[in-house]
Amino acid sequence: MNVIVCVKQIPDPAAPGALDPATKTLKRDGKPILDESDSYGVEMALQLVDAAGGGEVSIVSMSSADEVTGLRTALAMGAAKGTIVSDPALKGSDALTTAKVLAAAIQRMGGADLILAATESSDGYTGTVPEQMAEVLGLPSVTFAKKVVVDGGSLKVDRQTESGYDEVTCPLPAVVSVTAGVVEPRYPSFKGIMAAKSKPIDVVSASDLGVSPVGWAGSGQDITSIEQAEARAAGTIIEDDGEGFAKIVAYLENLKVI
């Protein structure tokens, strides 16, 4: 079974977020890392291919910058190869354009039995790309999966709901988005990190894929204002001297909730 995992390289979340004043888009300079949300998809893909007894895991990504450090992490975990659509013209692309570009890249890779993605990225969190990609590819999809089992030519998925979960069946090929925490992502081994350096990454441009318009031109939106939200009034912050709990009791009493 062949699985393609969609991954995203994001700015290190430990660094504070900022907007580029010129373009009003998220600043994405600095060394990107593999979005932690995507490590679950990569791990699940590796486990499913193992369970199927053969096949390979490939990764696909999109970026407006010429960077692949995040992708190497996925390759070090065990993915065999990658394709990245890397093109400055993609800057400012919306989720729909992202889905079209990834779908075109997946077709260029020859498709797969299963396409996995995270439910949303940790930096933009629009959370629509997997389902949009499925529609572009004409495939069924199951979003918010917390357990995925392949049974012959079809999937059995436990899909997260507001009140619990649904058991869903879905024939392959299909697109599945997985929630974080579904599997324990492996740490790349030293051997894996060394091997990743020589694994192939196919770098293509948006025009190679024939997707246009991309970037701001295709985004269907204009940012019209950016304002600071009303800040909450500063509260009382105290060091616990062993009596901190009493301050909480007094506060709750004052609110008449106890």
Binding site: G164, D166, G181, I237
Partner: protein
Amino acid sequence: MNIWVFAQTANGAPTTGTLELISKARTLGTVTAFIGGDGAAVAGSLGEHGASKVYATGDLAGALPGVAVSAAMKAVIDGGDAPALIMFPQNYEGRDVMSRLSVKLDRTVLTNNVDVAASGSSVSVTTPIFGGNTLVTTTFSGQGPFLAAFRPKSFAAEPNGGGAAEVVAAPVPETGATGTARVVAVHVEETSGPKLDEAAIVVSGGRGLGEAGKYEMIEALAKQLKGAPGASRAIVDAGWVPYSYQVGQTGKVVKPTVYIAAGISGATQHMVGMKGAKNIIAINKDKEAPIFGIADLGIVGDVTKVLPALLAALQARG
């Protein structure tokens, strides 16, 4: 302006989120609810909040709403009734329907919004970023229908005394390969006590608890205060508690009277889900933790010491 609201039901009634969106939509124009299921039973309640019409697909027979409802919406739009704006709830089904429809219509989606404004045929939406300290307003360009998703509790659900909405059938057309996923069983996770997103008091725990076993302290305190226990994404991802406990961007949005954040540093992801609380109490070891920036009362200390003392003091009061 004609506006559609993607309507959802639970236990035979419209969800609060649906009524919130309809209540807001009626201030901008004429409102039609679009429901993946039966419309007759909820036409009264939807009408009472301001919807004049309900498009209903009828029973989806196990099909996932993303594919089925978006296909039904597209068929109505192709039939000549195109709204200017379609409002979706920012939840699983809302996102799926909006995503599929965005491709069918070739329109962008704007998500995570907390407000909407219309002027002539122009529609703008507002979304908070960076944990809510910055508000970005974005205007749709090009032709409608514009597609936007809104966070829970962005608007108040208020009836305006309207009569029952007219129910119009909007059957799901043939969806081919895309429509082949089927729900074969539904599991509801039982919880006791008030619901997390409705409780007057929420006590949430995070990584600062140190280990999964310590989450018991959160549950005990929540029970003592007749509130609901919640959690940060970090400990949900770590498998300490189920996803249904998660407060934040990807979990529940809560606006309780009192929110107690215990051992939670205050990642953006978490803060957007709870900063609407009337009163916020934070307990954290690190005095630089972002959560103290929005706390009304902050205790810089070890949660595993403060919580037992707090619980004992509350229990002593009886």
